[in-house]
C-alpha cells in the first residue's frame, strides 16, 4: 500500500519545488476523474472532448483515470467506444491515434444508481484497487453532470461511502464539481450548500458555470484592469447603462420536460448573466488569487437592490415565444412544442432592470435579458457611455453623434468592439459612428481552448478562480427568488408573448423607456 506519509501537501501559495518553472497547469496531481451522468449529453459533447484535448496538449496528469458512473449498464469496451465517438464528433481537434491510445486504456465504466450506497462503496473499492495497482495515491475529482434531482443523493453517498474524505490524511483532498442548476431558488440553494458542507469543505467544491471558462469572459478582467484607459471611466460619471444579453435561436426542442420546470430566469439569468454582471461591475480585486476575485464578485451582488415587481412599472418582464420565423423557416410557439404542458406559464424570455447601490454604480441601470427563439444567438455585454457635453457637434442635423459603446461579445465570434464617432471624409465636417473591432479568432488564430478544457484542468490543479463560491450563488438567488415567487403567484397574468425570431416582447422595451434607453439589436 502506498504510504500516506509519502505525499506532500500542496497549497496554491507553496508549490512543490520540483514543479519550479512549470506553469501551474503542468503540475496536476495523479487524478481519478469520476463523472456522474457519464452517458449524458454534456459528457458526450463537452467533457470527454475536453479531456481528449487536454491530452493532446500534454496537460493531463502523468497518471490519469476516467471512470464513468451511470445508471445504465455499459461494458468498459462500449464506454470506450462511446468516448471515442464523442471525440470524433465533438472535439475541436481531429482525433490522433497516439493520443487516443494513451487515454483509452484509462477509461472505464462503473454502473450504479445514484441513491445506492453499495454502488458508491463498490466505486471506492475500485479506486483502492487502482491505487494498489499503481502503488500510489490519486487525487479524486468527482464531476456531477446529472439532473439536479440527484445531486443530493450523490453528495450524501460520496460522504457515506467515505469517498469525500479519501486521501485527506495525505493532503490530497477530493474535489467535487457541480454543474448548474445550483438549486431552484434561495432555499433549495442553501439546502444544497448545506448538504455539500456536510460532506465537503468549501475549498473542495467547484460550482461550474461554463461561461467563466470562455476566453472573452476571462479577458474581461484583463480588459478592465490591464488597460489604464478604461477603469477611470468605468463608473456612473461616464456610463449611461449596461446591457447584458444571452440570446438563443434554438427553441426548447426535446428538453421541454426539463425546461418547463425551469424557465429563462433560472436557466440563464440566475447563473450566466449574473456572472457576466458581477465581472463587469466588480471592484478591482487586491490580487489575482481566487478568493480575492470571488470576494469582489460577492460584494457587488450584495449591493444590488431588490427588484421592484409592480405589474406595469416594475423591474422584471417575462414572455413566451409564439410561432414565427427563424432563418426563414417557420417554427412553432412554445405552447405548441412537444411536452410543454397545457397552460404552461413558464417564461422562455426574461428581462430585468437592476441597480447597484454603491459609489461606482449608483443610478446606472443594468439591463439583463435572456431568451429562446430570439433573432440570433448572441451573448454580449454592452457598456453604453454618456454623450459628451453638447458644446461642440451639437447640431443634430449635421452631427449624428452616437453614444460610445464598448461591446464585449462572448459568443459567437468572441471579441471586443468600440463604437466611436468619426468624421466622414469630405469638405464639410459631418460625423458618423464607426466600429473598432478586435476579434479573437482572427487575432489569435483558432487555437483557443474550449471552456470545459480550462475548467476541468483548473479543478484538477485546485484553482477555483473560475468557479462559483457558495455565498456567491446564494446572493444571486437572493436577487432572483422574489421574482420567481412573484411570477408563480401571478400565474399567466403578466406573461407576455413575442414572435420567434424577434428580440423579445414590446413590454421589455418599457424597462428602458424611463431613461430613454433602447435594447440593442446585436448584429453579425
Amino acid at each position: 500500500m502506498v504510504s500516506s506519509s509519502s505525499l506532500s501537501t500542496m497549497s496554491n501559495s507553496a508549490r512543490h519545488p520540483f514543479l519550479t518553472g512549470l506553469s501551474k497547469h503542468r503540475g496536476a496531481q495523479p487524478t481519478i476523474l469520476v463523472i456522474f451522468g457519464a452517458s449524458g449529453d454534456l459528457t458526450r459533447r463537452k467533457l470527454i472532448p475536453a479531456l481528449y484535448n487536454l491530452g493532446v496538449d500534454n496537460l493531463l496528469p502523468s497518471d490519469f483515470k476516467f471512470i464513468g458512473f451511470g445508471r445504465k449498464i455499459i461494458p468498459n469496451e462500449k464506454f470506450r467506444e462511446f468516448s471515442k465517438d464523442s471525440i470524433e464528433q465533438f472535439s475541436r481537434r481531429s482525433p490522433e491515434k497516439d493520443v487516443w491510445s494513451r487515454i483509452e486504456p484509462n477509461i472505464e465504466y462503473h454502473p450504479g444508481n445514484y441513491d445506492d450506497l453499495a454502488a458508491f462503496e463498490a466505486l471506492h473499492k475500485r479506486i483502492h484497487d487502482i491505487e494498489k495497482e499503481h502503488e500510489r495515491q490519486f487525487q479524486l475529482l468527482f464531476y456531477i453532470s446529472t439532473p439536479p434531482g440527484v445531486f443530493e443523493p450523490i453528495i450524501s453517498n460520496l460522504g457515506a461511502s467515505k469517498l469525500s474524505r479519501h486521501g485527506q490524511s495525505s493532503g490530497l483532498k477530493p474535489k467535487v464539481v457541480i454543474e448548474k442548476p445550483f438549486g431552484r431558488d434561495l432555499d433549495t440553494a442553501k439546502s444544497l450548500n448545506q448538504t455539500i458542507r456536510n460532506q465537503f469543505d468549501e475549498d473542495q467544491v467547484y460550482r461550474i458555470d461554463h461561461y467563466l471558462g470562455k476566453e472573452t469572459v476571462q479577458d474581461l478582467l484583463v480588459q478592465r484592469f490591464a488597460n489604464a484607459i478604461f477603469e477611470p471611466i468605468w463608473n456612473r460619471e461616464y456610463v449611461s447603462s449596461v446591457q447584458i444579453t444571452v440570446a438563443e435561436q434554438l427553441g426548447v426542442g426535446s428538453r421541454a420536460g426539463y425546461y418547463d420546470q425551469s424557465g429563462a430566469l433560472r436557466d440563464m439569468i440566475q447563473n450566466h448573466t449574473m456572472q457576466l454582471l458581477s465581472l463587469t461591475a466588480m471592484e478591482p480585486p487586491v490580487s489575482l488569487d481566487p478568493e480575492s476575485i470571488r470576494d469582489e464578485k460577492v460584494k457587488v451582488l450584495k449591493a444590488i437592490q431588490p427588484l421592484d415587481l409592480k405589474k406595469d412599472a416594475g423591474d422584471a418582464v417575462r414572455a413566451q415565444y409564439r410561432e414565427g420565423l427563424i432563418e426563414g423557416k417557420r417554427v412553432p410557439g412554445y405552447k405548441e412544442e412537444q411536452d410543454v404542458p397545457i397552460g404552461s406559464s413558464t417564461e422562455s424570455y426574461a428581462a430585468l432592470r437592476l441597480f447597484i447601490n454603491n459609489w461606482r454604480w449608483k443610478g446606472v441601470p443594468f439591463y439583463l435579458r435572456s431568451g429562446k427563439r430570439m433573432a440570433r444567438r448572441v451573448s454580449e455585454i454592452a457598456i453604453q457611455f454618456k454623450r459628451p457635453p453638447g458644446i461642440l457637434f451639437s447640431e443634430g442635423d449635421r452631427f449624428d453623434l452616437s453614444h460610445n459603446v464598448m461591446v464585449i461579445q462572448v459568443q459567437p465570434d468572441e471579441g471586443v468592439t468600440l463604437l466611436l464617432n468619426s468624421k466622414i471624409p469630405g469638405l464639410e465636417t459631418r460625423t458618423q459612428p464607426v466600429k473598432m473591432h478586435f476579434n479573437y479568432s482572427t487575432t489569435y488564430g483558432s487555437n483557443t481552448p474550449e471552456a470545459y478544457e480550462r475548467l476541468i484542468l483548473d479543478a484538477m490543479i485546485g484553482d477555483s478562480t473560475l468557479f462559483i463560491r457558495g455565498d456567491e450563488t446564494e446572493e444571486s438567488w437572493r436577487i432572483i427568488t422574489p421574482v420567481l415567487d412573484y411570477w408563480k403567484n401571478c400565474g399567466q397574468r403578466g406573461l407576455e408573448t413575442y414572435a420567434s425570431g424577434s428580440w423579445g416582447p414590446l413590454a421589455a422595451e418599457r424597462l428602458l423607456w424611463d431613461l430613454r434607453h433602447e435594447w440593442r439589436r446585436p448584429s453579425n
Partner: protein, 307 residues
C-alpha cells in the same frame, strides 16, 4: 462554404489576416540547406497557430555580387474544417550580405508589423557577430532565441540588461521531460526526496548533451528550492555522462546513501518514460507515456512562456 447548423456559430467569415507578432529568423552561413528548410517549416507551422509576420534573413554566398537586398515572398493560407480555422501567413525571405550588417537592421525594420512584439531567432550565427553586428536586433526584440543543441557558442553571454529574454530552444524542448519528472516527484514530500541524496546523474547520447544541460540546470533550481537543501553539508552534484544505449534516451538517476532510489529513463523513441521510485517509504514503478512537443510547439513555449 461553411454553412452552419442550427444553433452553431454560423456568422459570416470575418477577415482572416491575423497577426499577433513578428518573428525574425536569421540563418547563419554554415547552415545546411535541409536544416534551413526545417527551420522555415517550423516557422510556418508556428504561425498557423500564432498568426504573425515572418522575416527570414539568409546570408548570401556571394556578397560581392549582392548590390541590393534581394527578397522573396512566401504566402500560404491554411484552410481548416471551419471558417475559424482559416488563416494566412506570410514569410519574407531576404538575402543579405553578412559583410554589411549596418543597413540590415533598418531594412528589416520597415517590414515589421508595427506595434506588435518582435522575436528574433539566431540560427548558426556566431556569437561574436551577434555581439558586434546585430545587437540592435537584440535590443529591439522581446525575446531572442537560439538552440544550444545546434550552437557551439553560449548565447547567454549576449550583453543585455534582461538575461531572461535570451531563450534556449533546448530548454523549451525539455518541457515534457521536466513535466513528467516534476509530476512524479511532486507526489513525494520534498524533504524525503533529498534525504540521503548524494548526487544526480544524467545519462545521454552525445547529441542530447545540450538538452541534458538544460535538464540539469532545472534540477539544480528545483533542488535549491527544496526545503532543507541549503542545510545539507554536502550538496549533491549533478553530472552529465555520455553513453550509448539502444533502449534509452535521456536518463536521470538520483543516487542515495540510504535505501532510497529514483530513476527516470526515456525510451529511445521518446514516447515513453520508465520510472522507479523508492522515496519516503513509498515504492512505485511506472511506464508513462511521453509526448514530445513538435518543433513549432517548442518554439511557442520559448517565445511565450518561462522566465
Amino acid at each position: 462554404m461553411w454553412k452552419g447548423e442550427e444553433g452553431s456559430d454560423s456568422s459570416a467569415p470575418a477577415q482572416f489576416r491575423a497577426s499577433q507578432l513578428n518573428l525574425i529568423i536569421q540563418i547563419g552561413l554554415k547552415t545546411p540547406i535541409a536544416e534551413a528548410e526545417a527551420v522555415f517549416a517550423t516557422a510556418i507551422q508556428f504561425t498557423q497557430k500564432h498568426p504573425g509576420r515572418i522575416i527570414i534573413l539568409c546570408p548570401t554566398q556571394n556578397p560581392e555580387q549582392l548590390e541590393t537586398l534581394n527578397g522573396k515572398l512566401f504566402s500560404q493560407c491554411y484552410i481548416g474544417e471551419s471558417q475559424r480555422e482559416m488563416c494566412c501567413c506570410e514569410a519574407l525571405i531576404l538575402e543579405y550580405s553578412p559583410d554589411d550588417p549596418r543597413s540590415l537592421f533598418n531594412q528589416v525594420s520597415i517590414w515589421l508589423e508595427s506595434d506588435l512584439p518582435v522575436y528574433h531567432w539566431f540560427h548558426r550565427i556566431p556569437l561574436k557577430y551577434v555581439k558586434n553586428r546585430h545587437l540592435n536586433f537584440v535590443k529591439n526584440s522581446k525575446r531572442v532565441l537560439f538552440d544550444s543543441q545546434i550552437e557551439t557558442d553560449d548565447y547567454s553571454e549576449i550583453p543585455t540588461p534582461d538575461p531572461w529574454r535570451i531563450r534556449d530552444l533546448a530548454d523549451a524542448r525539455m518541457l515534457p521531460v521536466k513535466q513528467s519528472i516534476g509530476q512524479i516527484l511532486s507526489t513525494f514530500e520534498e524533504q524525503a526526496i533529498i534525504k540521503g541524496l548524494t548526487g544526480i546523474k544524467l545519462l545521454c547520447e552525445a547529441e542530447d548533451q545540450a538538452n541534458a544541460v538544460q535538464l540539469s540546470k532545472w534540477l539544480h533550481v528545483c533542488l535549491s528550492a527544496t526545503e532543507g537543501y541549503s542545510q545539507m553539508e554536502l550538496k549533491p552534484g549533478i553530472e552529465i555522462e555520455s553513453r550509448t544505449d539502444p533502449q534509452k534516451g535521456i536518463e536521470v538517476i538520483f543516487e542515495y546513501s540510504n535505501d532510497q532510489e529514483f530513476s527516470w529513463a526515456m525510451s529511445k523513441n521518446g514516447n515513453y518514460a520508465y520510472t522507479r521510485a523508492i522515496v519516503g517509504g513509498c515504492s512505485n514503478r511506472h511506464c508513462i507515456t511521453l509526448r514530445k512537443n513538435d518543433p513549432e510547439t517548442v518554439l511557442a513555449e520559448a517565445i511565450f512562456f518561462g522566465r
